[in-house]
């Protein structure tokens, strides 16, 4: 009577142990990456098979880009506040509003240009095939693909 119960339980315990073993060993890398200082960059290293030297170079580029990005964002925010103030003071598109909007658009364009430049620099630091893959992926994620006609709907 006890032997079949023992076999049944042993089978189930073995299945659970096998599941847990495979799961934890398979996801250990993901967990380790998540607890790092810059998990996004760690992911980039893993996803695009970067060497330590390439990763170090990309990390430096990333940090330099982010500090510049923060400054550009600050200027865009400042310009947005200026536009909001001008819009609140009138009920017409004044030359000042026009000028502020143009400046705001230029700041955004500059920001986008710097971002694309960063992507190109990063892709050039990667092995050629991975660089191509990175560029295709990141452009798909960041450059708007909506056609102009769709913006009216």
């Amino acid at each position: 009577m006890r032997r079949p119960i023992l076999i049944l339980v042993a089978g189930l315990a073995l299945a659970v142990a096998a599941y847990c073993g495979v799961y934890y060993s398979g996801t250990a890398n993901c967990c380790h990456m998540n607890h790092g200082k810059t998990p996004e960059l760690a992911w980039l290293k893993q996803e695009f098979h970067l060497s330590d030297a390439e990763f170090k170079r990309i990390t430096e580029m990333h940090e330099a880009y982010l500090s510049g990005c923060a400054e550009r964002c600050r200027r865009i925010d400042q310009k947005n506040q200026e536009v909001a103030k001008l819009l609140a003071a009138t009920n017409n598109v004044t030359p000042e509003i026009e000028k502020a909007l143009t400046e705001s658009a230029l700041l955004r364009a500059d920001c986008q240009t710097k971002m694309l430049q960063h992507f190109y620099n990063v892709s050039r630091t990667m092995p050629p095939e991975q660089g191509k893959r990175y560029l295709a992926w990141v452009q798909q994620q960041t450059v708007p693909s909506d056609s102009h006609s769709q913006m009216h709907h």
Binding site: L8, L14, A15, C20, G26, P39, C73, V138
Partner: protein, 113 residues
């Protein structure tokens, strides 16, 4: 007393049985009663399904080949389920990390800008 020829004796008995006719009438609703008795007997000896299942399972697990097969199948199922779950978790983590990287480098992903 032994019959002189058993074959002849059987033949005689067969003839007598063929000629034998029962004239006594059956009691009323005889067939119904018979069926009811059969049903009652079956109900009395009916074993619960789980007991039957357990008995069959125990009998099966008592055979070493079946016991080994059972354990092996469960082990493989566990391994396969773990592997599939790892694939799903990794795909989700990749997607999530990719999105986080893009948010980090693309200021236009921030709705306030």
């Amino acid at each position: 007393m032994k019959p002189e020829n058993p074959m002849q004796s059987d033949e005689g008995l067969r003839q007598v049985l063929h000629q034998w006719k029962v004239d006594a009438p059956l009691p009323p609703r005889f067939q119904d009663q018979v069926w009811r008795r059969i049903e009652r007997t079956e109900a009395e000896v009916q074993i619960p399904a789980w007991v039957l299942l357990w008995q069959r399972l125990s009998a099966a697990l008592a055979r070493p080949t079946l016991a080994v097969s059972y354990v092996t199948i469960l082990l493989l199922t566990g391994l396969l389920a773990g592997y599939l779950q790892v694939r799903v978790t990794r795909a989700q983590a990749d997607e999530n990390m990719g999105a986080r990287y893009v948010q980090l480098v693309d200021p236009f992903q921030n709705p306030h800008r």
